[in-house]
Symmetry: D2
Subunit: 297 residues, 4 copies
């Protein structure tokens, strides 16, 4: 059990809500802010937490301020300006951002925070909604080692694995590595299932056998059944994946790396969006290949 | 322990040699044939086996004849014609082919075998050389159920998993599903590692963290270390992967399925071959992305 | 006007029919063979030509035998065997094949022909049905220079451009260069039109302006209007393009070249086939991008 | 001959320098500004033009202000702020921007200009350095029809084709259509040449023949010779192409279109940059395929 801390949580979406709940369960003193206030009100009705009208008010007096919002702009809006958290934080407090953002905004905010005597840790997560609910997220952190060290026991409230990957931005960069690894993997799995069906095989049985070997992946073990049933209303949404891949492509442009398959799969995801799949799980690449059969337009 | 059987093994390459060895260890009465006779002679010197000058001579009197050769044409040459195994096999005997071939040749030979009162099971494997040596291969089988049922206990000599996937050709088709799933997966892993290095991350540490989640794969767990060191003199050779992908692409053309990423990655493998990597492991897609850094031409 | 020759034409499809007609117009003495005899009968009713029941009978006495059939196997069947043209041709006669085939079969038949004292020129064409009708084809030839020199004046009956590209197979290889150049070009044009429409531009006006510059192509000038109208019932059929691309990919595998975009576009053509476009023009890649809008399945 | 006008030209790079020169030749009264002043000084030494220390000073009294700078940020810096052109322009004057930028910045500046009683026409060009020097550019315009109508006779000083494509941003969007059409076309041409060489053909002769038909393109006619010689120190630089493709990809993301081949080719361009080709012509995609042969790293 860690020490009881004063903490704030900004952004109570499908990820942030259960993460903030774990903080209350661990006995921390929690204040919350959410853009749509009703959701924050519900949180305060269900769990021992204080409702704050602005990020700044939530952040006042807190040792740690956590955020899990939508994108770079959202992050800027909860940290900077008159009502932003930085304006309310006390000297030495640490801001921990769980949003998946560009490394650029992470470094910008790190620099701003430092000037005000604050810490800033970029700490994107993987594990999805179910990982957040079970408190079993993987957290990839960038920033000053001492800030990380202080924040780590609190982050542990909802993490199964948490690591300091390097200076500011390193957390975001690690998350990008994760998304890049997934993109082509899911497409290949989709092609494999698509081929299996066209070849007249029992696709589930084929996967059940080959998952013992070199083709095995988490996606193969955890997504094959739903893919074959055409169920995509779960998991990590295509529109979020595209947001993340856009960040990856831009960073790759900056650092001189090449991502041919990630770039291509991103365009396939654009097609998933075209057929109505913005909110479908990333495994819905399979839906494109099934399209004729399913009569999707 | 299964019953002692008379078996023949045709093709003592890096896969076939240890597979045949397991048959002797299990107590079966083994005759062997290899195109390059010296290798068969060595086998007979090391293990209790009978040397045969032709596939036909090896097959005479055998209950089961196994083969593990190079490609469709090699398989035809050890089964058909005057000196082929079919000419020597006794009625009711079963030919089990472990070569990765087209489904077409498997069905052709199944039909030919049937006319002669023989069984034919297509039974490609995965698990590579180390799987063959440890007797821990995954075997994917197609053919008549009764032939499979009789062969299964003998195949078990070197298999960790063995399954009947359907009629003749189904084993080969399942192997294709395996190779298709691997192609884009390895490319995505390569892109992820390449990006990690360009981003200034400790790539090994990044993988070590993200392998807890949705990006996890056998390749990530078993190939990252060698990839980062630039070691590719092991594993499954690019030229074999290309042979297999050619079979996949042709079958896809026939059955109307689409494999955009597999088709693209096959062309990347062509580039690996161009830079001298015919014998490198499939994970050498990473070498293409590293090229400038490593000064490869 | 060239000398009057005895010629045979094998294969009176959409290409061969008008090509053979041009031979009669130029005053050559023509015998014809077609697998579906009724079509050959119609030809003989319309034009001064002799009907032959087999390729061999058509070829007897001819100075030149032309063919324009479907694929490698079709070509073998009209040249080889008891009823094949080679069996009927007189010493010194030249077989000119206008089919798009593999370079391999061209070389095989060249060798067979040579042994019988015959010439064999591989001479695939481009220009499509309208080029055939207008006698304005481009003909790419491989084979012995002297055979080419003798055949050239007769080929000129339906060619706008005709050239000897090198030894046996060189004609086919040149045709492959043509198809490879077209594949990605048409896809890029499709992406450009698709983007123009999504951007709210008058796509036709945009093309009309940019075709003055570095983006110009024959496809842009001749296919934009029909693409924008969704008309694809004309031109060069997707299933023929895929046949040709399969030949290209196999030859590339043999000669060690890499065709990443051709490989990818071939898979997009597979999708065109899936939505019912086997017979559509190659420009129908655009249909895939329009799909949602047009409600195609 | 058009009326003599007071005009300003901002940005005297490889494109802007000759464009501004044409304005002086046509008799317009020209003031110039360039970030690196020495280049503007040289211009004023060579041609009848007035040197201005800031965009604002150049713009004072002008009927039309032209710009040709690097990117969105450069454009903002020469138009906005204390020393920007907008601050100096008189009511009713029109700003014509020849930079290739995002449609977004064009619309932003159009709105800002409108509030100040100014016109803003986005007018990117194609035709490259040689087109600029010969006064033979293609100019694609967006903005208010009346502003375009007034600017058109002055733009004609260096244009072969100039057209109003629609409201603000339409010029930039048309330029994007142009770049998208080029990307895959050049890659396909590169693959065709690469294949031709590996096939043992005389690649130049092959292109010379097929350029009569459906594979023809401006690139094929104007770039084949230099590509085959490995000459890329000319034309349109890869780093500019990548800047443009990044704009295309972002706009496509916004408007819901899909550009799979453009996305992939952009990654190939990243590889060209990796091997030292930032300044090479776009046709240098061929260099990647030749790499082993040329021993590039």
């Amino acid at each position: 059990m860690t020490d009881r801390r004063h903490v704030a949580f900004l952004g109570l979406g499908v990820m942030g809500y259960p993460m903030a709940r774990h903080l209350t369960t661990r006995g921390h003193s929690v204040s919350v802010y959410n853009r749509t206030a009703s959701r924050a009100e519900r949180f305060c009705a269900d769990f021992p937490a204080r409702l704050a009208a602005t990020p700044r008010l939530a952040a006042e007096g807190a040792d740690f301020v956590f955020s899990c919002v939508g994108n770079d702009d959202d992050l800027r809006s909860v940290t900077l300006g008159e009502t932003g958290a930085f304006a309310g934080m006390k000297g030495g407090a640490v801001f921990v951002d769980h949003t998946t953002t560009s490394a650029k905004v992470a470094r910008e905010l790190f620099a701003v925070a430092k000037k005000s005597g604050l810490g800033f840790v970029d700490a994107p997560v993987s594990g999805g909604q179910s990982g957040a609910e079970k408190g079993a997220l993987t957290v990839m952190c960038g920033g000053a080692a001492e800030d990380y060290a202080r924040a780590e026991p609190v982050i542990a409230s909802y993490a199964r694995a948490c690591r300091h990957m390097g200076p500011s931005g390193a957390g975001q960069l690690t998350k990008m590595v994760n998304q890049i690894a997934i993109a082509g993997l899911v497409q290949s799995l989709s092609e494999a299932l698509h081929f299996a069906e066209h070849a007249g095989l029992d696709a589930a049985a084929a996967i059940d056998l080959i998952k013992n070997g070199a083709a095995q992946s988490w996606q193969m073990e955890n997504r094959t059944a739903t893919m074959l049933k055409g169920e995509f209303d779960h998991g990590f949404a295509v529109e979020w994946m595209r947001k993340d891949l856009a960040i990856c492509m831009e960073e790759a442009r900056r650092n001189g790396s090449r991502l041919p398959v990630a770039a291509l799969v991103d365009q396939f995801y654009a097609e998933v969006e075209n057929i109505g799949g913005k909110r479908w799980d990333t495994s819905s690449l399979f839906a494109l290949l099934k399209r004729s059969a399913w009569n999707l337009t």
